[in-house]
């Protein structure tokens, strides 16, 4: 009986592999699509991005905030707050761990992923520029958006520290340009809908802005404009939480 069972192993492996192949192919396809889509937001792994965040309520501008974001491979970001009322604040994101520093006390405070979500704009919306590192998914369907053939990806977070647990991401079918996204929080509640505005800069299509419509607090809209992007690599020590208290020249 044991030898019969052994004889069945190769056949079973082949059968399982056959069953998994479409899924594996699908997973690889999604990964490729995400990698291409990411390049419209972040062309290089280490970049300096100047970001403007505008908060609207019922179409009226309520507040404007300015941020400087440094990114580095390995899901590392450093966000410097530039608006007059927030100047001196910094947030450091190292994979799923976060620290904030406030100018009045000058000490790095360890914060939880949920604390990161609280405030004017979720820091993750500003600092997280890639999907391929954070999400796995499948092709959910194909559909036409504003007359453009698109593919909809159903993405699930691979890590606990990401801002949104699930994303339904719509990409153009021809070149994977991001079009829109439904963003779900931990309770599987649809929290925001994102629209991506693309424009040509230096001959390349880039995401120039992301418009986030709040579906929980209705009437609220956040426009995140990527004012400039340039390749920039900060020295590694800038990503040490204790370095947050230093104000060296590089910025």
């Amino acid at each position: 009986m044991f030898s019969r069972a052994l004889r069945l192993v190769p056949a079973s492996a082949v059968a399982i592999a056959c069953l998994l192949m479409p899924w594996l192919a699908h997973g690889a396809e999604v990964k490729d699509l995400l990698a291409v889509a990411d390049e419209y937001r972040l062309a290089n792994e280490s970049m300096l991005v100047h970001t403007k965040v505008e908060l609207f309520r019922h179409g009226e501008l309520q507040r404007e905030r300015l941020y400087t974001v440094y990114t580095r491979p390995g899901r590392r970001s450093l966000v410097l707050f530039r608006s007059p009322s927030e100047k001196g604040q910094k947030v450091l994101m190292l994979e799923d761990e976060f620290w904030i520093i406030l100018p009045t006390s000058q000490r790095p405070i360890r914060i939880t992923p949920l604390q990161k979500l609280i405030g004017d704009a979720a820091t993750g919306d500003i600092a997280t520029m890639t999907w391929s590192d954070d999400y796995d998914g499948v092709v959910a369907r194909e559909e036409t958006v504003a007359g453009i053939p698109c593919v909809v990806l159903d993405l699930a977070a691979r890590r606990k520290g990401v801002t949104y647990r699930r994303i339904l991401l719509t990409l153009r079918k021809d070149d994977s340009r991001p079009v829109q996204a439904d963003l779900y929080v931990a309770s599987d509640k649809l929290a925001k809908q994102a629209q991506f505005r693309l424009e040509r800069r230096g001959g390349e299509w880039v995401v120039a802005a992301m418009v986030l419509k709040d579906l929980i607090q209705t009437g609220r809209e956040t426009v995140i404009t990527y004012e400039s992007r340039e390749p920039k690599t900060l020295p590694a020590e800038y990503y040490n939480p204790m370095f947050l208290v230093r104000n060296d020249v590089v910025e």
Binding site: P84, S85, E97, I111, L114, A186, E237, N240, M242, D248
Partner: protein, 411 residues
């Protein structure tokens, strides 16, 4: 550092700052107006004659804060106009920070006056061996830094800091003004931030401590710290029998304790809807015990009998007792403290309520505050009430209610 306290180092750094002004520069200004309304505690034994000042005076201040930075030179300076009810306005200037952060000979160095906060707590910070600020002020403005020469070294997950504080000052007016040598080691391991510190000064001898902060769940952060100090000077009240030695001696005596421990443990829980709860317990051996407070209160209550009992002149007794009231200015009146803070933030509107409870004597300090921010403006208001059991230290304070408002505009 106020203007009146000199500071040649400050002038040197100012020179450096102006020398580099041609380089990329950032500057910002903020104005804050903070009126405070205070109500006196009619049942307090600490009355106006004893304190040597008016009790229950409304007061206010206007701050103009300048932040300026260029090529690693950083300046935060505050011009302040303060006024008390019925008194003339007073003007002062404070250099909160003036330092240079940069690299020299391949090393990270800091020279100047800089805020050096090293602990992980919120209500109290045992490992703030250099900074030592009161963490529970009603409206927090930028702290005043400490004069340091510091060397730092960083790698991916750890950091070293070696700081020589208040060079040449010897034994200053208080621990934060003392000349001292301090070191901190930071290590991030797994999910834990770990800190080890040490400090040596003439007044306190060796201080050494550890602290840790960890995010246990998406919503839960835990932190704690622990400090040993070789020496601790405390002013205690003599026993009733010993008080009979007046005059020639005060009813207080300086007692030097050894091998004292300070500890803090706390947690922060946050919900996605903006609700946040902070709980902290701490033990500060510099505070009085409940029985020591009872002795002090009994001594002050019976002060009218002291001249007859001791034969000392009333002025000498009054001066001695008034000197003892400096204990009202301590960050922690009691050794054991429990803090619970509940806050809720939605966009830029924040409301919070906190209660500090001193379990040894049943004292309570409750604070309610609201804050709202626009693009450049921020307003906040709060009410703090002191009370608790009838013989609690906080119940005996000369003022029992404080209402504050603050408006701040930044450019």
């Amino acid at each position: 550092m106020s203007w009146s306290r000199g500071g040649h180092g400050a002038l040197l750094l100012a020179g450096l700052a102006f020398a580099s002004a041609a380089q990329a520069t950032e500057a910002s200004l903020a104005v804050a107006i903070v009126p405070e309304f205070r109500w006196s505690n009619s049942s307090s034994v600490f009355d106006q004659p004893l304190l040597g000042r008016s009790v229950g005076q409304d007061r206010g201040r206007a701050d103009l804060e300048l932040q300026w930075r260029s090529n690693g030179v950083n300046l935060v300076a505050t011009g302040r106009a303060s006024v008390r009810e019925g008194e003339r306005a007073q003007y002062s200037g404070i250099v909160n920070e003036l330092y240079w952060d940069g690299r020299a000979f391949g090393q990270h160095l800091t020279v100047g006056r800089k805020i050096m906060s090293w602990d992980v707590g919120f209500g109290f910070r045992p490992l703030d061996v250099l900074q030592r600020d009161d963490r529970r002020v009603l409206f927090a403005s930028t702290y005043e830094g400490v004069a340091v020469i510091a060397w730092e070294r960083f790698n991916e997950s750890s950091a070293w800091t070696l700081a020589y504080a208040n060079p040449g000052a010897g034994k200053g007016a208080g621990p934060r003004d003392d000349e001292s040598l301090a070191a901190r080691y930071y290590h991030h391991i797994e999910n834990v931030d770990l800190y080890v510190i040490g400090r040596v000064s003439e007044r306190l001898g060796l201080e050494a401590g550890v602290a840790a902060a960890v995010v246990a769940k998406d919503s839960l952060e835990l932190h704690g710290s622990f400090r040993y100090q070789r020496r601790l000077d405390r002013t205690l009240i003599r026993d009733a029998d010993e008080q009979a030695v007046l005059p020639g001696d005060a009813p207080f005596m300086l007692v030097t304790g050894h091998d004292r421990l300070t500890a803090l443990a706390g947690a922060t829980w946050t919900h996605a809807n903006g609700l946040s709860v902070l709980g902290e317990w701490w033990y500060d051996p510099a505070g009085y015990s409940a029985s020591e407070w009872r002795n002090l209160l009994a001594l002050v209550r019976g002060r009218e009998e002291l001249p007859q009992r001791t034969g000392a002149p009333p002025e000498a007794i009054g001066a001695a007792l008034a000197a003892g009231t400096r204990y009202l200015e301590q960050p922690n009146l009691l050794r054991q403290n429990l803090l619970l803070r509940i806050s809720h933030q939605r966009e830029t509107f924040q409301r919070s309520f906190d209660v500090l409870w001193t379990p040894e004597d049943g004292g309570i300090v409750a604070t309610l505050s609201l804050a709202y921010g626009w693009n450049r403006q921020h307003i906040s208001t709060g009410l703090r009430v002191f009370g608790g059991a009838s013989d609690a230290a906080y119940r005996a304070l000369p003022e029992d209610t404080v209402l504050f408002c603050a408006w701040r505009i930044s450019r």
